[in-house]
């Protein structure tokens, strides 16, 4: 189907980003519930993590469908009620698992990249 293209690097980077953002959302919910816009803002503050803020919303839906988060509505001081996201027990476990794996993955990749770069 698709062969490697010049855009391949960008593509795999964006895939890596997408995979990591999921867990960043879970991490942001560790200390308590947040609403969609709040999550998007927090994620955008991290340089290079989110390129299109709008794509976070489908991701939130996916997390909800996978039962890693639950949602509920709460009145807001100004404007219509907001949908809040909250970590489930499953989400907490997934986050813990990823945190461990990520550290190994990051160290391994860093090690290789630095080694290759200094040769």
């Amino acid at each position: 189907m698709h062969c490697m293209e010049p855009g391949g690097t960008r593509n795999s980077l964006s895939q890596l980003r997408r995979g990591a953002v999921e867990y960043c959302v879970l991490a942001l919910l560790r200390e308590g519930e947040r609403y969609g816009f709040e999550l998007v803002r927090k994620l955008s503050e991290v340089d290079g993590l989110v390129t299109s803020e709008g794509t976070i919303y489908p991701l939130l839906t996916r997390l909800r469908r996978d039962k890693l988060v639950t949602t509920f509505w709460r009145e807001s001081e100004a404007g219509p009620p907001r949908r809040y996201y909250e970590l489930t027990e499953e989400g907490r476990e997934a986050l813990a698992g990823f945190t461990q794996e990520w550290a190994r993955f990051r160290d391994g990749v860093d090690g290789l990249l630095e080694q290759e770069g200094s040769r």
């Binding site: 969609g36 955008s44 299109s52 709008g54 919303y57 469908r65």
Partner: protein
């Protein structure tokens, strides 16, 4: 002033999103558009301005509607709201009376492309003439023999009444299949006109 312009920009953006998200189920699509709309409101509130520059900046940060729809696409679109081989086989089978229904009805129930309500309406619509026919037949044959007697029982030969009942039964299956096909197409079409 600027409000007209702002609304036009936002409306145009949301329309593009609706079109791009055509492959999602109607419910999912409506939810996505509502979420993005809410985001735009929140972001403008945060910016403390709603002039053209503010709106353009908010939309810029959101990204292209097509990109958002694509992010919502593959995982949700394939199981729901799209006609696959399963749905087509189900519809073809439903159009064949009796034998086809044995295959078609389980397929419809298995499919994730229809909502539960549509499934129920489609199947009941398809079978309604059978129920009606059975009711009329039992009422009509009540005096001549046991219910469900074979058609070659003396006194119940094939007359115009039986032919019309059979015709209705076949028609019922077709109507059920057509209803389900229409529901499938309605869900697959872009709904930009409703905006």
């Amino acid at each position: 002033m600027t409000t007209v312009h702002q609304n036009a920009l936002v409306a145009d953006y949301l329309r593009r999103l609706e079109r791009a998200a055509a492959s999602l189920t109607r419910q999912r699509r409506a939810e996505l558009v509502a979420e993005i709309q809410e985001h735009i409101d929140d972001a403008l509130l945060e910016a403390g301005a709603a002039d053209e520059v503010a709106v353009r900046n908010v939309l810029e940060r959101l990204g292209a509607p097509e990109e958002i729809a694509a992010a919502a696409g593959p995982p949700t679109a394939s199981p729901a709201g799209r006609a696959g081989r399963l749905e087509i086989a189900a519809l073809v089978a439903l159009a064949v009376p009796f034998v086809g229904w044995l295959v078609g009805i389980p397929l419809v129930l298995l499919s994730q492309a229809w909502k539960g309500r549509d499934k129920a309406i489609g199947v009941l619509l398809g079978l309604s003439p059978v129920f009606l026919g059975a009711l009329v037949m039992t009422a009509g044959e009540g005096h001549s023999g046991p219910v469900g007697a074979p058609t070659d029982t003396p006194g119940s030969g094939v007359g115009p009444f039986e032919v019309s009942v059979l015709g209705l039964v076949i028609l019922g299956g077709l109507v059920g299949a057509i209803f389900l096909a229409v529901r499938l197409r309605r869900d697959a079409e872009p709904r930009a006109l409703e905006a």
